[in-house]
Amino acid sequence: MATISRDNRGLRLAVRYLVLVLVALVFAFPLVFMIVSSLKPTAQLLSDTSSLRAFLPVGDISLSNYTAAFQRAPIGRFVLNSVFVTVVTVTASLFLCSLAAFSFTYLKWRGNGLLLSIALATLIVPFETIAIPLLLFVSRLPWLGLDGIEYGWLNTYRVQIIPWIADALTIFLFVQYFKDLPRELIEAARAEGASWWQIYRRVVMPLSGPVLATAAILKSLKMYNEQYLWPLIVVQDEAHRPIMVGLGYFFQLNVAWGEVMAYLSVITLPVLAFYLVLQRAFIASIASTGVKG
């Protein structure tokens, strides 16, 4: 009886692993396809799509697509631009949105609830509906630079960063998290004579690791992967273009699919590295906040 039970356990485990491996393969397939395809000439890549060869590094394998892709577009520049815009925006966003959420959660001021509701209501406004008014706005905004005041933010990094710093989702994540922190901690700190700034810096933020990780990941992915329409209309010079606009360089009349895959592989590297470094925090943050990506 005990033997049968052990066998059953073994079988169950084997089935479970088989299912998990299959699911893992399904999720890994697009990535494998992209990387494997980036090593094949376009003609072979297209012929292979009708069979399992599409996922195997077989046939005429080389790095020539990477060489060609780097010749076709200033990929390094695009990646640097995107990484810079992402890092600055996310850092500023975490700071300002957490401050806003702190104020909404702990400070008593007139219109607090109403303003939070208005901020959250912007979640349902698609960006496309405000893109043109925002374009007209930023194209006339002043900026105090080294040469004095200049007008118009087009073709700059700031036009890709500043409009994205404050966002309702990040504020909402912080508000939800702050609400669950023990009130006693805040009250004890107040009783000790701590200022609100000290409470924010020394009590609340050190306890906010999971929500910081969640907000950072969601915001980073949005800034790095999804910035297309906005930079398309506000950035006309190549020097400031991000990766998603750069993808257009590869869609000519005759699409070089091998180079497209090479480009996608290269621009995915920073995301993969970011994920691998923060993997533990990412899983912990999802487990603690219940946010699904």
């Binding site: 003609a43 297209l46 012929s47 799509t49 009708s50 010749q71 076709r72 577009a73 043109i132 374009l135 007209l136 194209s139 118009g152 087009l154 398309l232 209309i233 506000v234 006309q236 010079d237 190549e238 606009v245 750069g246 993808l247 257009g248 360089y249 590869f250 869609f251 000519q252 009349l253 005759n254 699409v255 699919w257």
Partner: protein
């Protein structure tokens, strides 16, 4: 005294010299070819040749990816940030001119008198843009396929009739040698649809919009001829002659070359690559369904933005770029049809006896511009959707009626787009 005179002369010279060797006025220019290495090299060569050829103007080029170029221009127009020189896709030009993004091109008619009609952009009786090339579509086939199926080789003078065309497709299908008799490139649901398929509608006697008034599509896009076209179009997919909208890009790019399709309706930009792999490829003219045989005309052209303060400089550059040697260089490099016979004679592909010579004649004799109206940018999208829906089995009459309603509503919303009704 002598010293004083010399000093005065030196002062005078220093004051005058900077004006004599004056700086070139900068002209900004936007181009749609970012990522196209060959095209970029050519356009940069023209720009540097122009900048060195005279001392008044200096063109500074900024290239954009083609897929996002139009959006960038429209956004820049709204933000008041357009450059001096822009390039514009032929059928889009009337919209940009009507919207006030472009100004007429101050160029002598004699400069463009030999140009292919599709390479000149006119709106409201004025020239707004001129192109260095045009494109053309042809029916790709193999000489061996025609022989094997016992088909007559159609010519420009005597193209296939609609019946002959369908008989050819039927013969290919019945032979069992092909996955599909015809590839139409249905996976590319962009400007390809109106560019490539509107000629079939014209050949049936219909149209996207009434070209006499440009005020309605009623009767032309849903009239008897259009319905007949729609039913014929649907039959291509229902009867299994052509792959539908779910066709994989891989099949479209490799299918004809690998012998999966007997015929392919494709542009001349694929001709050079096809010639390299298919020895006996022939480029056949469009069939005539009763009202003439057509292909689409009009490709990328240069024009001047409305906000340019230096239209004479911009025009000088455009005129400089229209030299036969540049037209020929572009054609040799990217395979498109040079705009003049003189330039065609200088190319390896379009000169007499060249492998793509047929395309020049196709462009010259069969090309018809898509509707020359600012409303075309909307009409092309409506037409594309209607054709995709019909291919997927939607009712022909209802779909075309709905398309007409949408086009007419758009024309009304825009007060007729400046046409005299």
């Amino acid at each position: 005294m002598r010293k004083t005179s010399l000093f005065a002369a030196a002062l005078l010279a220093s004051a005058v010299l900077p004006h004599t060797a004056h700086a070139q006025t900068e002209l900004s220019m936007w181009y749609h070819g970012a990522g196209n290495e060959v095209e970029s090299k050519l356009i940069n060569k023209i720009v540097s040749d122009f900048n060195e050829s005279q001392s008044d103007w200096k063109v500074v080029i900024e290239s954009f990816p083609q897929s996002s170029y139009n959006d960038s221009v429209v956004a820049a127009a709204l933000a008041g940030n357009l450059p001096d020189i822009i390039d514009v896709d032929g059928p889009v030009m009337p919209n940009w001119a009507w919207s006030g993004y472009m100004q007429p091109l101050p160029i002598e008619e004699s400069v463009i008198e030999n140009f292919l009609p599709g390479a000149i952009g006119r709106w409201d009786g004025k020239v707004y843009s001129v192109g260095l090339w045009d494109a053309a579509v042809a029916l790709y086939a193999r000489e061996s396929t025609l022989e094997e199926l016992g088909l007559r080789r159609p010519t420009l003078e005597e193209p296939w009739t609609g019946e002959e065309f369908m008989a050819a497709l039927k013969a290919a299908k019945d032979s069992g040698n092909y996955k599909f008799a015809l590839d139409l490139g249905m996976n590319d649901q962009g400007e390809w649809y109106p560019y490539a398929f509107a000629p079939f509608l014209w050949s049936h006697g219909g149209g996207i919009v009434d070209r006499d008034t440009y005020q309605t599509a009623e009767g032309v896009l849903n009239g008897e001829a259009a319905i007949e076209f729609g039913e014929w179009w649907q039959s291509l997919f229902e009867e299994g002659y052509a792959p539908g909208t779910s066709e994989a890009p891989a099949d479209q790019e490799r299918g004809f070359i690998e012998g999966d399709f007997a015929f392919q309706w494709n542009g001349n930009w694929r001709a050079v690559a096809t010639l390299e792999e298919v020895d006996d490829v022939v480029f056949l003219p469009a069939p005539d369904f009763g009202e003439g045989n057509y292909i689409g005309g009009g490709s990328w052209q240069f024009g001047i933005s409305a906000s340019s303060d230096n239209p004479e400089g911009a025009a000088a550059f455009i005129e400089f770029a229209l030299q036969d040697k540049y037209l020929a260089a572009f054609s040799d490099a990217i395979g498109l049809i040079p705009s003049t016979p003189g330039a065609a004679a200088m190319t390896k592909n379009y000169a007499e006896g060249g492998p793509l010579e047929a395309f020049f004649a196709l462009s010259e004799q069969q090309a018809r511009l898509r509707p020359v109206t600012p409303g075309y940018v909307v009409q092309s999208k409506v037409f594309t959707k209607a054709l995709a829906d019909i291919a997927n089995g939607a009712d022909v009459g209802d779909t075309l009626d709905a398309a007409v309603d949408e086009i007419d509503a758009d024309i009304k919303r825009n007060q007729g787009y400046g046409h005299e009704g």
